[in-house]
Symmetry: C2
Subunit: 372 residues, 2 copies
């Protein structure tokens, strides 16, 4: 037995909810194993349950009940165990537990007083983008400059056209990293200038969002360089660089867009509404791109709706963030998408804007459909 300890804690606790396969064994034992694995990863029979560590540090099984052939298990953990750290929160709720097959994470309540790890000055989340676009109620609009391989002048010209067409956010495709055809430091200035020119000539307010794919230690520098070049937002892929990279990308003070690339394996085991909604929001993202049914990727409509809800629903001090629907959006689908998701949404259109060789015209049609 571990010698007695004198650990104290505030009593504030958060909860994580799992669905557990009955084949893993007696659900009470599995739940206690999970609670230990999440927190102390130490033989529980060596810890006195009435001791400081047993009382305050080991996770507590709050509920076990059958749900549709599986068991719903709710485990609470002292807020001090994560101490406001996104990294540690993820490590607790999806670290070792993830390695046990048949255990899926389906819900999560943020610790008390959880605020995004990085505080911007001014508006954040959906409000930040609405303010930038001067669009208080309509759906916001986003597209990407691409394909990878275009030189800087062609990317800049495309950005100009998309901005002139009235899009709110002109982001870089996530494929744009630091390739020789358009290196990051060489392209951000000309592209930012092209968008500024389009805005000046057309009275538009397009925001430029470069892709920050690169070493995570370089994210603060790249985000600052983007800001100094005139970008209004930045984009990272937390499915590649980890949710904690959102915080690093936010240090320059620009809103952060989270792209869903790389989340395929995770979203098979963790509810899509958490993967694409609550977790990026808790990590400090201001916008999260998710995929909609009817496009290039498979997703259930219920999961898409729950993702939008997880971005918008009031939750402690977390700002509502912009859920950006992508992966299958076209100009023609706008009325249907507005009907399904409401107007507190961003519509992200990629290849469809290039279909007839005049992306500016298609962007204008998109803007009209959003203002209708």
């Amino acid at each position: 037995m571990l010698a007695p300890t004198d650990v104290d804690a505030s009593g504030d606790r958060f909860t994580a909810t799992y669905l557990v396969d009955p084949a893993l064994g007696a659900v009470g034992d599995v739940a206690r194993w999970m609670a230990g694995e999440m927190t102390v990863e130490f033989p529980l029979d060596l810890i006195d349950p009435d001791d400081g560590i047993g009382t305050h540090v080991v996770g507590r099984v709050e509920a076990v009940e059958p749900v549709g052939g599986r068991h719903r298990v709710v485990i609470s953990v002292a807020d001090e165990v994560v101490s406001g750290s996104m990294t540690q929160l993820l490590s607790v709720v999806w670290g070792n537990v993830s390695l046990g097959r048949g255990v899926d994470l389906v819900d999560l309540t943020p610790p008390a007083g959880w605020t995004a790890p990085v505080r911007h000055n001014g508006p954040r989340g959906l409000a930040a983008f609405r303010a930038l676009a001067d669009a208080p109620t309509r759906p916001l609009l986003m597209s990407a400059i691409k394909p990878l391989g275009l030189p800087v002048d062609r990317l800049a010209a495309m950005a100009h056209e998309l901005a002139a067409g009235g899009l709110d956010v002109v982001k870089e495709d996530q494929s744009l990293a630091d390739q020789p055809w358009a290196p990051f430091d060489e392209r951000i200035g000309p592209i930012a200038q092209a968008i500024r020119d389009a805005n000046d000539r057309n009275g538009t307010r397009a925001v430029y969002a470069p892709s920050l794919n690169g070493p995570v230690a370089d994210l603060p520098r790249r985000a600052a360089a983007a800001r100094d070049a005139g970008a209004g937002a930045v984009m990272v892929q937390p499915g590649i660089s980890g949710y904690p990279a959102i915080e690093a990308a936010a240090t320059a003070g620009l809103p952060v867009i989270a792209h869903p690339g790389g989340f395929g394996g995770l979203s098979d085991r963790v509810a899509p509404a958490l993967v694409h909604g609550l977790l990026p929001r808790m990590a400090g993202a201001d916008c999260s791109v998710f995929i909609v049914p009817g496009g290039r990727f498979p997703i259930e409509e219920a999961d898409a709706l729950a993702t939008v809800d997880a971005c918008l629903r009031p939750s402690g001090d977390l700002p509502a963030i912009m859920a950006a629907a992508g992966g299958g959006v076209s100009v023609e689908r706008v009325p249907q998408l507005r009907g399904t998701y409401g107007d507190d949404i961003c519509l992200l259109i990629g290849g469809d804007l290039h279909r007839d060789g005049d992306p500016r015209r298609r962007a204008s049609l998109l803007r009209e459909a959003a203002e209708r």
Copy 2:
């Protein structure tokens, strides 16, 4: 059609191999869709295949063949598309493609001349740990100080005992982040000192490896603080902080240990030998902890053996790295584990060392079993 482009590339290409579910449709169409999604994410019918982008940037389907009810699809991509960046490599091979259910990544060849993103001075990988331990041939030995909740003096005392017992690496449990019970900056000095004292008194050479769970932008600072306090290695969880965090943790020049927490969803869709072996190795890890059959987590023996091979097998300029077997290692299992995995392995024992209340004695028994 996209206006003609004048893109050039070296001709050096790397390959990614997938297994694709036939239910997704005609496999040739699916493979071409994947090749586009990985690189340009642009309607392929708008790109002239003989054009610069069509020739050099769009992924190329190299092979399609049936394998056990699925299709094996090999896709090659120009090295310039990733340009030496781990982030971009992952984005290409497992970004948007991951979002298509029924597509699993099973193999990968590193781009030509791929070296770990961060170069240390002196030995790296397995060789670095063998040099630190002065153990040229025997299995290396690792354990963790835990549980979370212990104050600094108790953690330091435990580290002293484990070092005195003859372990090569005394790491912190991944649960140790920056909690109030033992904050990072307050604990690393006393724990390093306790291990130094044990080494001085007993002629041992234990290396201290603190857990760097925290904001990724803070990883270089924490790694440097660990080094300055006397740590000999550091540990991160790429399943939580992303593979690119390994590079950030390596900037202080210490060997990096990758812990497998959070990889559960990923390893359902990406071969475990890539998840726990080749990818951390390519990202710059010097040691990767993987789980072995017969313990607390489910894994196939073939996957465990393939993981060790992916850590050790000669591959370009990549150093062989230390595969650390965990999740179910006991003193009694040492002969069996050596028989299965050979002696180029690290044995990571957690709770089992604390079973009889004298971790130093159990550590000594472990060391004896490794030297036999």
